[in-house]
């Protein structure tokens, strides 16, 4: 089935498709190699050849289900991936190669127009693709425009490249493929710690580095989609805001607020001064006299400065600047009442976390 589907539509498309194809060439080639390797993986994983497909059918839905986050997203995927892979590797291979010789300059243009055209084409065809798209945008439940746009922007490079490669049908499949691939690999890894939300952004990074050998490499080594808190994940991905807008990401509310696990760790500060064991008030806990990050209360800091002046954490001398700061802080602390300190705790923490955000 996969072969016929892929083959027939490929020649059919109009001039538009042809143009896009040209633009795609490089990306397509890259993609193709990627797909082939991935297909190999799949085949290995799920059994052999077509049997593998059947297995896949069963496997993908489960994988999607495991991404309990968004059922909407999950449902459209399963059928698509298999077709895609086959069409890619067999049907469109020759074309891609033929075109590979032509210009690479068009990539930029095709990239630009593809996102615009794609929604329209989806509607006209109304096939699986339309559903797919809905899955995307519908996820937000009346998605805010911003969230929708972010989805597009994040996945644009991917979808552009792939959509352009072939016929409109191909287009739909292409988009799905990445997600499906992510789902499947995901499943294999049995790293289910992430909801389906993260699976949507990954397409962008994978194809984004155009014509770079590094792109596929990293993907393969990762063997699954980038998690939002993944350290290898490109920082430029805009998915954080998008995740926040998805209902499925409620569990990720910290991430949505721009806080990572590391920052949460910072939030759970020592509650008492390690020197005098007295509780740290907000002023104290936001007081970092030493670059090593050792926390202590202002009283103890002052006493240490009057003695040898070395940080208890790293045993280095406190510098004079921090000493001055300390003096001011100490005076301030004496004036603060305990009741007010308690009231201030929450805002202070928030403030600190915010300040950490951009730096991170």
């Amino acid at each position: 089935m996969g072969h016929s589907d892929a083959a027939s539509p490929a020649p059919a498309p109009a001039a538009r498709d042809a143009r896009k194809k040209r633009g795609n060439r490089t990306a397509a080639k890259l993609k193709q190699s990627k797909l082939e390797t991935r297909r190999g993986q799949w085949l290995n994983n799920s059994g052999q050849g077509n049997d593998g497909k059947d297995a896949k059918v069963a496997a993908t839905p489960t994988g999607a289900r495991s991404n309990a986050g968004s059922p909407i997203l999950a449902s459209p995927h399963p059928p698509l991936p298999r077709r895609r892979v086959d069409s890619r590797s067999r049907g469109s291979d020759p074309e891609d190669r033929e075109e590979a010789g032509a210009t690479g300059l068009e990539i930029g243009g095709s990239d630009l127009d593809s996102p615009m055209h794609s929604p329209g084409s989806d509607k006209s065809q109304g096939s699986g693709c339309g559903a797919q798209r809905k899955g995307f945008s519908g996820n937000g439940h009346g998605p805010s425009p911003s969230s929708g746009s972010s989805v597009w922007s994040s996945s644009r490079s991917v979808s552009d490249a792939e959509e352009d490669t072939g016929c409109p049908e191909d287009e739909n499949e292409v988009l799905d493929d990445w997600e499906a691939a992510a789902d499947a690999l995901y499943d294999d890894d049995s790293h289910c710690h992430h909801s389906s939300v993260p699976t949507t952004p990954p397409p962008a990074p994978t194809t984004a580095p155009p014509a770079n050998a590094a792109g596929p490499e990293t993907i393969r080594s990762k063997a699954r989609a980038w998690a939002p808190d993944d350290k290898f994940r490109p920082q430029s991905l805009p998915s954080i805001s998008k995740q926040a807008s998805f209902p499925a990401s409620i569990g990720n509310s910290w991430a949505g607020m721009g806080m990572t696990a590391a920052q949460q760790g910072i939030l759970s500060l020592p509650v008492s001064c390690p020197i005098c064991y007295e509780d740290l008030d907000p002023t104290d806990s936001s007081f970092l006299p030493c670059p090593c990050g050792f926390h202590l209360c202002l009283f103890c800091h002052k006493r240490i400065l009057e003695a040898d002046g070395r940080c208890p954490g790293c045993r280095k001398q406190y510098n004079t600047a921090s000493a001055v700061e300390e003096g001011g802080g100490g005076a301030k602390e004496t004036t603060v009442g305990t009741g007010r300190q308690m009231a201030n705790i929450a805002p202070v923490r928030l403030f600190r976390s915010c300040s950490m955000g951009p730096r991170y």
Partner: protein, 157 residues
């Protein structure tokens, strides 16, 4: 003075609360003076001190924790960095490397570590240090084991 007392009370509470946390260390505060502590530490395994229980005496200055506690062995021990007669300990964290972030508990842990890893190049016990420095590991170990048996292993019956 008040600060050191408050801190020692907190440490005392901590010790009471986590009595079983470190089975190799037992910290006991003097009944009438919180600036006097004693500790019982077990000799680390796979050392000549294995099987022994060593008593340490803590004398805590009023500037504690800005100044380190004074610690010495009450139990005789044959160790390059412990004075054989007075029990004085040559340990950097009890002198210039002290940090107020250390506690009595962590000092005990450091002393156990010192027992397992002697520093023969800054000896308080020259005999022991010389044995180690001349490479006579066997001699050092047998001497240390002998004194452990003599002084640190609880007598039966």
């Amino acid at each position: 003075m008040q600060a050191s007392r408050a801190r020692l009370f907190k440490e005392y509470k901590e010790v009471q609360r986590e009595k079983s946390a470190d089975p190799d260390i037992q910290l006991i505060c003097d009944d009438s003076n919180i600036f006097k502590w004693t500790a019982l530490v077990k000799g680390p395994s796979e050392t000549p001190y294995e099987g022994g229980v060593f008593q340490l005496a803590f004398s805590i200055p009023e500037q504690y924790p800005l100044l380190p506690p004074q610690v010495r062995f009450l139990t005789k021990i044959f160790h390059p960095n412990v004075h054989f007669k007075t029990g004085e300990i040559c340990l950097d964290i009890l002198k210039n490397a002290w940090s107020p972030a250390w506690t009595l508990q962590s000092v005990c842990r450091a002393i156990i570590a010192l027992m397992a890893h002697p520093e023969p190049d800054s000896p308080l016990n020259c005999d022991s240090g010389n044995l180690l420095r001349s490479g006579d590991i066997k001699g050092y170990q047998s001497m240390a084991r002998m004194y452990t048996r003599l002084a640190a292993v609880p007598k039966k019956g």
